[in-house]
Structure formats: C-alpha cells, structure tokens
C-alpha cells in the first residue's frame, strides 16, 4: 500500500486497503472491530507476531501506522487457536469466552431498596486490584499468544474481579468451579505459566491473577 499517513490507525489502514480492493473489484478483507477505542476487544488481529501488534498495553485499534517504517512488510493474521475457529479471513469466533462468562461471570443481587454505597467497607488495595482485573476486555489475545491455547489469564481476570470484592464472595466457590469447568469443556489448554499472555495483554492483566484463580479453585475444592 502507498501513502498511508503516519497518524492513520491500523484499522483505518485496513479500511483504506479494503476500499482499494473494492475499487479494483476484488473482495475486501474481513476483520472484526467495533468501538475503535480499546474497550470492546473486537479488533483481534495478530500483527507481525504479536496479538494487537507491537505496541504494549494497547489494542489493534489503538495502534498507529507511525509504529512501522516506510516500506515495511506487515503480516496480519487471525488468532490461531482451536477454541477460536476462523470465520473468514481475520475474523474468528470468540463465542467460547461468552460461554465461560455465562457459566458464572456475574453476581446475583437481591431485589429491594439499594443500600448506601459505603455500607460495605472495601479496602483501597482490594478495590484497585479488582478494578485492574475488571479492565480485561475479553479480546482473546492471551489465548492467541499462548502456545497451549490456554484461556487462564482471561478466566483469572474474570474470577479475580469478583473474588476480591465482598459482593462477589457469596458465589465465589460456585463461580470458580463452573467457569473453570466450562473453560476446560470448550477445549482450551492447560496453563504452563509461560507468561506470554500477560506480556501480550493489551490491558496489562497480571500473571498473579492466575495464582489467585488457582487459589480460589483449590479452596473451593477443599471445602466441597
């Protein structure tokens, strides 16, 4: 491609590419995207050997063409993992993540009047940790980066965001068992702690979440 301004985002570059292809009468390249501001997790592109490209702590849609040198060849691939089948070109089916979420990634609330927000004391550390874990956007880059096709980083973020807060404690045991069982059933791999997931995660979800997930699971199993 020629004359791509450096302040073009990666997905805009893909748009330009597709317009070119359409003008030439060729089929455009299918790729996923939605928010284009790093919150939906749809832009699942594996760019030059990195999920979400070479930038750290950023999604593909937050990647700019100034990252690349003039004349560079850029290799763009879909996520490659058995649990994320490719639908077309660069678009994969990440429905497996939705199924894991549905298995327990929620808290149940009683109906009735809302109580005062400060009635339950929560330490700043716990609140911050929970918030950090909750920044996971479910993009699947962790699975794409993992040589074992494991979804443990994603699952650990989803379990941690509740496990750390009093609101999540009530269902903690059921949640971790159900979500882990669903993840295993869907054919994700066994984590061997290589850490490629955390290194490539656009939201910098930390590896320590996986230790917390295992702790939660082992405690739940021990009290069965």
């Amino acid at each position: 491609m020629h004359d791509i301004p450096t302040d073009t985002s990666f997905l805009e570059m893909m748009d330009i590419l597709n317009e070119m292809l359409i003008e030439k009468g060729e089929e455009p390249v299918t790729f996923d995207h939605d928010c284009r501001e790093g919150i939906c997790g749809m832009c699942s592109l594996y760019v030059n050997g990195h999920p979400h490209g070479p930038a750290t702590g950023a999604t593909t849609c937050q990647l700019y063409m100034r990252r690349f040198k003039d004349g560079d060849t850029i290799t763009v691939e879909p996520w490659r993992s058995a649990a994320f089948p490719v639908i077309k070109d660069l678009m994969v089916n990440r429905n497996a993540f939705d199924q894991i979420q549905q298995a327990g990634g929620y808290v149940s609330f009683q109906t009735g009047g809302a109580q005062d927000a400060n009635a339950i004391p929560i330490s700043k550390e716990a609140a911050d940790e929970a918030m950090d874990s909750a920044t996971c956007i479910g993009c699947g880059a962790c699975v794409a980066a993992c040589k074992n096709g494991s979804a443990m980083l994603f699952l650990s973020a989803k379990v941690s965001q509740f496990a750390l807060l009093p609101q999540g404690k009530a269902e903690a045991k059921r949640r971790v068992k159900a979500m882990l069982a669903k993840m295993d059933e869907l054919g994700f791999g066994n984590c061997t702690n290589t850490g490629a997931c955390a290194a490539e995660c656009p939201k910098n979800i930390k590896l320590s979440n996986i230790a917390r997930l295992n702790r939660e699971f082992l405690c739940a199993k021990c009290s069965d």
Binding site: H50, N148, L180, C191, K206, A211, R215, F217
Partner: protein, 222 residues
C-alpha cells in the same frame, strides 16, 4: 475426580510431583557430595540405601512420582497441542519476559528422562536391583569408578544436568504459581529462588561428576 478432569487439578498433580522430584534431586546431589569428602562414608550410604525395606519403599514412592509426572507431562502436552490447533502463525515472536525453558518443558523432560535411564542402567541396575535378587554386590565407590573412568560419561552427564537446570529453573516457580502460593511480590521471588536452586543443584552434580572423572581416570590423585 478433579485431579484428572480439571485443568487446574492436572496442573496440581504436575506441580506436586515436580516439587517432590526437586526435593529428591537435591538430596541426591547432597548425598553424592559425601563421596568427594570420603569414599568410605559414601560406601556406607550406598549400603544404607541398599536392599533395606525403607530404601525399597523409598524407591517405589520415587518411581511412582516419576511415573505420574511423566504420564501427566505427555497427557498435558498432548491436550495443549490440541488446544493450540493445527494452524501455525506465519510470524512468531517470543516476548522477552517468556523463559525459553517454559516453552520447552517436555523436550527438556525427555532429555532428563533419557539421562535417567542411562544413569539407572549404570548404577541402580548394578546396585539395588541385584542386591534385591540376593546377589553379592561391590562397594558404592566401585560403581563410581566403573562409570566415571570412561571419558564419554562426563559430557553426557553434563548435558543431562544442563537440561535439568533449565527444567527446574522454570518448573520450581511454576509449581508455586500453580499451587496458588504466589502474588505480585512472590512471583519474582520464586523466580529468583528457582534460578538459585537449579544452579546449586547443577553445580553440585557437575562438580561431583568432574571430580569423579578426574579421580578415576587418574588425572588427579586426591
């Protein structure tokens, strides 16, 4: 059973057997060191660990630990290959935080396993096994001599030790992470302890093998 049908359960088996093997190799390395100080003391240890009920029981538990670790290693790796799928990336990179050993645990384990078989043939099959069958055996140091007076043994042993270094340097901290006994502070600490532990085990074994080779080939006389 959750130790077989959940991924975390399977990893727990892997980590507990792995840590057990780490303890074993550590004791083994310390025991060999006795031979550097005194061959007579080494002979005594060999006799103590011969055809006695506690030594046989220990051997059985150890063999069980190895068997479970190896069976789970192949099982987990096969599952992981399947989860990864058949499509390979055209371009791959290794993030700098990712240890090489962590991505090659099975290969490293297989090298350790080959070394282990050789080592068992050279020692166990000539020491505890015949003794159990009621045959008369020699002193511990005679088997050291028979093995280490051959020059090819040293490089082969060093390759085995190196593979073990890599395997433990990742395996040790990974086991604590798997068991949930890690957090932001402890992950780097365990990683540091892993490297140290693996290095101490490696240095002990290597120094012992080098000493035995030099001693039994007659290069040094002490």
């Amino acid at each position: 059973m959750w130790l077989t049908n959940s991924s975390v359960g399977r990893k727990v088996v892997m980590s507990v057997t792995g840590l057990f093997l780490v303890l074993f190799v550590t004791f083994h390395a310390l025991m060999n060191a006795v031979a550097i100080i005194s061959f007579e003391a080494y002979d005594a240890i060999c006799e103590f660990l011969g055809a006695n009920w506690y030594a046989v029981l220990g051997t059985l538990v150890l063999a069980g630990g190895f068997a479970i670790h190896i069976i789970y290693a192949f099982w987990l790796t096969l599952q992981n290959r399947k989860a990864r799928g058949n499509n390979r990336y055209a371009v791959t990179t290794k993030p700098k935080d990712v240890e090489w050993a962590s991505q090659n645990m099975l290969v490293l384990g297989i090298i350790v396993c080959c070394f282990l078989i050789l080592h068992l043939v050279q020692f166990w099959a000539k020491m505890q096994l015949p003794e159990l069958m009621g045959e008369h055996i020699m002193r511990g140091q005679d088997y050291l001599q028979a093995t280490f007076s051959q020059w090819w043994v040293l490089p082969v042993y060093l390759i085995g030790f190196a593979a073990l270094w890599f395997h433990i340097s990742h395996g040790f901290w990974s086991a604590f992470q798997t068991l949930g006994t890690a957090n932001d502070k402890w992950i780097p600490r365990w990683q540091c302890i892993s490297k140290w532990w693996a290095s101490i085990v490696f240095i002990l074994f290597a120094v012992e093998a080098i000493y035995f080779t030099l001693h039994f080939t007659g290069v040094i006389n002490c």
